[in-house]
């Protein structure tokens, strides 16, 4: 890649303009080392589980063609897509240019000679036409956009690279996405998604496998006590049919999605206000608010919805999924018929994971048939879940369950007593690194107090003191930063000493 270093003169020129403290856009974040390490811990944990189940990583570009994204997230979603401007011009400059000289503009914005002559050929010096031309060019200039989620890019990826993939294709993807949502607590404009999906297989074993993955990831993160809520669109659809609400399916699901917020009475009221027949509403809510152990609930549903084909299929799908789970995992799964999660999208299983100590879901997903149809590849069913890495981070912070080792990756710092001592210390540091420890020499021969302050702030386990006298005597003083103890160690035994000490500590 090309290196474009800073230019000094520009730095100087803009200094005046930058007198204010610098900042970052609303809804975005810097991550300090400790935060970054904790985030990496979450990503690495998830990734190691995904890989054990045979899922493979892919990466897609942050920039997609605008047409790839537009129209996929509903009207509301479309408004939240960040568009990228080709860097040739500011729109404010363009305003003038279009008025003054559209010909010049097309010359600037065209990317190749061919495009350029195309623009010129079509150019007619007519006010209205020029305006339209300008508009066309402007839309050319913003024909790229930032990824809004990982699902649509994944569908695009599968279609575009279908000849390189073996199906069923099991992939995971951990990358940032961007949404122009109004920033608020826990909601960011730039955040990571951590998605795991299978595409090209209808088997319900995939649903079971994903539930196992969810369980494994949260156990490894130190969150074994999750609650997995499971639903199936086909059951909901069957309930609507059986209650005479077939034509009101969308309204019904929008309303029941609010059940935990506004209660059964609230949902009932809303549905009736929306014009749903009171009779059907009552029937549907009777079905939906049922609670029982999965096995019993499924038996009840199957009995009370006899003859409703959709419902029976949904019940069968759920049974098969649950049957493929180990017993320990079955206990974490509850069937929640109120779970809708953007139902127009899912076509089978709907999955959501929660935790008693967290107000919103920390993972969710489901089955969506014909995922790649939008991009011209039919008959590819997909099922997947997305881990809410930022929420999981917040929850783990709140519970204070990140491993202790997170902050102090660094084993030993050598105090810098001057050029010669430092060079000798660098040799020792090298030996420690080769043995697998993180070690560093303080770069400047400044006051001891300053060096020790740094060692404390960084959380080193040991500080090595190698002065000229020690070098003469082939030994080093090692201070244990936890106990405060000092040890004299022969230089050739330093690695061994650190090894023994860390064995004793752990």
């Amino acid at each position: 890649m090309p290196y474009h270093p800073l230019k000094f003169e520009y730095i100087t020129h803009t200094f005046a303009a930058m007198a204010n403290k610098p900042s970052i856009p609303k809804g975005t974040r810097d991550f300090l080392p400790v935060q970054s390490l904790k985030r990496k811990f979450i990503f690495d944990t998830a990734q190691s589980v995904f890989q054990k189940y045979g899922y493979q990583p892919i990466e897609t570009p942050a920039m997609e063609n605008l047409e790839t994204l537009t129209g996929k997230y509903g009207e509301e979603g479309d408004k939240l897509i960040y568009k990228i401007l080709s860097p040739v011009n500011y729109p404010s400059d363009l305003l003038d240019k279009i008025k003054l000289d559209p010909q010049q503009l097309s010359l600037i914005s065209a990317e190749s000679d061919k495009e350029r002559s195309h623009f010129l050929g079509n150019y007619v010096e007519n006010g209205e036409h020029a305006k339209n031309k300008g508009r066309e060019i402007l839309s050319e200039l913003s024909n790229r956009a930032l990824r809004y989620d990982l699902t649509v890019p994944f569908a695009r990826f599968v279609v575009q690279n279908q000849n390189e993939l073996s199906f069923p294709f099991k992939r995971y993807q951990i990358q940032p996405v961007w949404r122009a949502d109004r920033p608020q607590k826990g909601r960011y404009r730039e955040f990571y998604q951590c998605d795991v999906d299978v595409i090209g297989s209808d088997s319900l074993l995939n649903e079971a496998e994903l539930l196992s993955i969810i369980d494994d990831v949260f156990v490894k993160l130190g969150l074994p006590d999750i609650v997995i809520r499971l639903n199936n669109r086909k059951i909901l659809s069957g309930i609507a049919q059986a209650s005479g609400l077939r034509e009101h399916f969308t309204e019904m699901t929008i309303a029941i999605d609010k059940l935990d917020k506004i209660g059964v009475e609230g949902v009932k009221k809303e549905m009736i206000e929306r014009g749903l027949p009171a009779n059907g509403v009552k029937k549907a809510l009777d079905h939906i608010s049922r609670k029982a152990k999965p096995e019993n609930l499924l038996r009840m549903l199957s009995g009370s919805l006899t003859g409703v084909e959709d419902a029976q299929r949904g019940v069968e799908e759920m049974r098969a999924t649950l049957a493929a789970l180990p017993t320990s995992l079955q206990e974490k799964v509850t069937i929640d018929l109120t779970l809708a999660r953007g139902l127009n999208y899912y076509t089978g299983a709907i999955i959501e994971v929660g935790h008693a100590k967290f107000p919103s879901s920390i993972c969710g997903g489901g089955r969506y048939d014909d995922l790649t149809g939008i991009f011209g590849l039919k008959g590819m069913s997909g099922v997947g879940v997305s881990f809410g890495a930022d929420r999981i981070y917040d929850l783990m912070e709140e519970l204070n369950i990140f491993p202790d080792s997170m902050g102090d990756q660094s084993t030993m710092m050598f105090v810098n007593f001057g050029a010669n001592e430092a060079i000798k210390s660098m040799e020792l540091a090298r030996q420690l690194r080769e043995a697998g420890y993180a070690a560093e020499v303080y770069p400047d021969a400044v006051k001891m107090a300053k060096q020790m302050k740094y060692a404390n702030a960084r959380g080193f386990k040991y500080v090595g003191l190698l002065g000229s006298k020690e070098i003469e005597e082939n030994r080093i003083t090692v201070k244990d930063m936890r106990s405060g103890e000092h040890n004299e160690v022969e230089l050739k035994h330093l690695v061994e000493f650190v090894f023994d000490q860390s064995q004793n500590h752990d």
Copy 2:
């Protein structure tokens, strides 16, 4: 994070428009699993070395405020910055809106009630004013931009978070950057940088440490035969002074940067054409084209540039840096006085790493005093290098030196003979995963040939065949995919069997 699922109706609506094969923007790339794994290998290798030297990860947002980036990369660089448009409007819509109803526009684009009333208060229904207002709003709408490199965001980060950091602050950062460069072979519009820097220390031990890091990273990647070229801006500056070219320093360095392309005569010609005194040009080129072992070269320079303070300091800095290196590394370092690398930026050491089998540099960097001055924090000297991950990838592919284990992370696939067999196989897969192996059950009970084709494509080491007969007899047939051999294994000994086999193979 909020989940915004696809909406089915929109999918259907846009299907017609998407009949063409989907694509991604020019200069961006998708990464397939094997490519992603190889990229991860490079990043993980670099990261593990950085951490051993006590460098800590940080992350900054992809989006920065435009003013943070503008003016930092020279006029040319500024043109390559991708600006982001707030997603409220298309610029093409704006054209109309500004003409028709700027009041409405300000209402749409304002983010809060306060901003909204501010806009309204200032609004005067006057053609010219409305146009200016519109322009102002447009510039508001594109006041964010995509990160162009990691250095400027790092400087911004240090200033903004200075109270949270311990100095010297040693950080690494592995994130993508975006540049609207004309795409060509090996040059992308979205690519990763992998930067490692120390800030807040003038010590030359940092330069030595970075050279050690470079060596360690490339040795671990399987590229021990790199060539590290080293220069120092102070020496170049001293040579310019001694040759009477003090006022032509920039022209001189721009010209000598081309030495390997156009040769000494070419450089000479260019400098004279640019109006540099022929006498001085000869003198400077005599100094610069000297080649010798580092020690000898430094002695010669020191002798021939007596009294030129800058040059003497540069020689001293280089000596101190080299002295702090282990002998094995000293041998990989050559002094190259023609190395300039954006000299207006670096103030001390200049570092560039090459490989005989690759045409361009694969890593580079240097010392830049006062890195954070632009953001109001004075006196912070920084030194760092950036690894060209994409180029290193290309080189490693060309040399075919990625580890074999890269593709086949997956140990065992179980053939799916039906629901019952699959559930039993899932139990075995779970046992293998617990023992650290990647294992999966083929999700669909389709034809054996199809399942085996998948197993081959994915590169599994073993395929497990667990039919109803095998289940009855508590055993499984294991096919070794490399030897073609079949083994009958008792179910309770499967993990042990896989362990023994993999020991024998490795």
